[in-house]
């Protein structure tokens, strides 16, 4: 199918006897924003990490932008460079300046010249509102700023889709907004996004669809309106009422 970006097809993963992903089948269309939610331990992060093979799967298949992610012939490094991934804990490289963090992969993987990569890094920093921080070190930035740099670092490889693994969970509450703003602007620009998050406000406002996971299973999927006002499963209802009671 030409207009699907990510396809999960009967995906299973076990850690020993623990069934971490239980027969997941679903698709993310091009330009779509999917929010994956669910209680902790439900397998959301594991699922998103299988897309760029930070986790391997034992059964089933995953396709990303027409490529079989688990094909033995896949050039893993080249493939990963096309998948934008943002971590919960930012994982910026503390020994490099912000601009160097962003330019690292373009220079070493795409073989861009240092000056071209830097120019692009500055451009991306403008986009995430941090143009003045190009020569700062990650240790000098707030958590929210670090996460915006991490988003710019992923964008530097011009990925066709971006994966976010709980991008705001490690942030102080007052910094969540600035990161969500950047993500919203990406969504508005038509970026395909798969996003594990507990930010239900973001899901309501930006997501095209919400996936609800529990115990390694994809329990239900639906538009945010349907999911939040009329959840189909007991587990989703319980999850949402737990969220609201906080």
């Amino acid at each position: 199918m030409m207009n699907t970006m990510i396809t999960f097809n009967g995906v299973n993963k076990w850690y020993g006897a623990y069934h971490a992903l239980d027969d997941i089948s679903a698709t993310v269309a091009k330009g779509e924003v999917v929010v994956v939610c669910g209680p902790s331990g439900s397998g959301k992060s594991t699922l998103i990490r299988t897309v760029n093979r930070l986790e391997d799967i034992q059964k089933g298949s995953i396709e990303f932008d027409g490529q079989d992610v688990n094909a033995p012939s896949l050039d893993l490094n080249k493939f990963r460079s096309h998948v934008g991934f943002v971590f919960q804990s930012f994982n910026l490289f503390p020994h490099m300046s912000v601009a160097e963090n962003i330019a690292l992969a373009p220079v070493n993987v795409l073989k861009q010249s240092k000056s071209a990569a830097r120019a692009r890094a500055v451009e991306l920093l403008e986009r995430v509102g941090l143009a003045a921080k190009a020569d700062a070190y990650p240790g000098q930035l707030s958590g929210g700023q670090q996460q915006r740099v991490a988003i710019a670092r992923a964008l530097a490889m011009d990925p066709p889709a971006m994966l976010f693994d709980e991008p705001t969970s490690a942030l102080d509450p007052e910094m969540v907004g600035e990161v969500l703003q950047v993500m919203k602007s990406l969504a508005r620009d038509g970026m395909t996004m798969m996003c594990v998050t507990h930010e239900m406000g973001f899901a309501r406002e930006v997501a095209d669809r919400v996936w609800f996971m529990d115990h390694g299973k994809l329990v239900e999927t639906g538009t945010p309106d349907d999911f939040f006002s009329n959840p189909q499963s007991d587990r989703a209802r319980k999850f949402l009422s737990d969220l609201r009671s906080h």
């Binding site: 760029n52 990963r80 096309h82 490889m157």
Partner: protein, 251 residues
């Protein structure tokens, strides 16, 4: 005290540079050259051994692990004897005492450096490797650009301590007549015959001053690194230039 000054005046050059320029270089100069060359050659080998020790591939993991365990499990003097007696047989020609000692130090120290480097790599958060791989760097690129620069920097104090150990270990070259500092002191003792206390006090002082200053340097570097790391870890608010200036005069 007078004796010590007299000995230093008459035999100082022998302690410092051996019989050079009329004979071979020796004394402190050789001790220093041996230590620096030893650690410099052991360093790249230690990094490779460390990478092999964390490798998932058995063909790398097992030999490296065996070498590290054997070297850490035998006294240095044993290794000296092994190299001294078997290296000439192995390569089919005589090997000088200096080369024997250098080869021994390289093999022995690389095992210790490997464990230091491995600890440095393993102390980094796994997220660093994941982030480097996630943007498409190969394992080797990730090691070279992201992991090793951080790991080695953090391990500079430990490696300086290892350098201090190496300096002390060169004294064992005495047993195979390497013309280093201890050997020179023993020569002086044989000439004077009646002043062993003074001669070996001088010897002890030279080692102590050298090693103590390097240990202090290591401590200083360690404090700097700790401070830098603390700044990187908290990092919530960019420090003002004034706060940074104050931090730098603190011990």
């Amino acid at each position: 005290m007078g004796d010590i000054l007299t000995i230093l005046r008459e035999h100082g050059p022998l302690l410092l540079i051996g019989q050079y320029p009329n004979g071979p270089l020796g004394g402190l100069a050789v001790t220093f050259v041996l230590s620096v060359l030893g650690i410099a050659l052991a360093f790249p080998l230690g990094v490779l051994l460390a990478l092999a020790r964390i490798s998932p591939f058995r063909v790398f993991y097992w030999p490296a692990t065996a070498l590290v365990y054997v070297m850490r499990g035998v006294p240095l003097i044993m290794v000296i004897f092994w190299v001294y007696f078997f290296l000439p047989v192995l390569i089919g020609r005589p090997v000088s005492g200096f080369s024997t000692m250098l080869a021994t130090l390289v093999v022995y120290q690389s095992a210790y450096l490997a464990e230091i480097v491995r600890a440095g790599i393993e102390s980094l958060a796994t997220g660093q490797m994941e982030a480097a791989r996630a943007v498409g760097l190969s394992y080797i690129q990730a090691m070279r650009k992201v992991i090793l620069p951080q790991a080695l920097y953090n391990m500079v104090p430990a490696m300086l301590s290892q350098f201090v150990s190496t300096i002390k270990e060169t004294s064992l070259g005495y047993v195979i007549s390497v013309n280093e500092l201890t050997f020179a002191a023993d020569q002086i003792n044989s000439i004077l015959l009646t002043k062993p206390f003074q001669v070996f006090l001088i010897l002890a002082l030279i080692y102590f001053v050298l090693c103590f200053s390097l240990t202090q340097l290591a401590r200083h570097v360690e404090r700097r690194i700790t401070r830098k790391r603390a700044g990187a870890a908290t990092g919530a608010s960019p420090r003002s230039p004034r706060a940074t200036a104050i931090a730098q005069v603190l011990p």
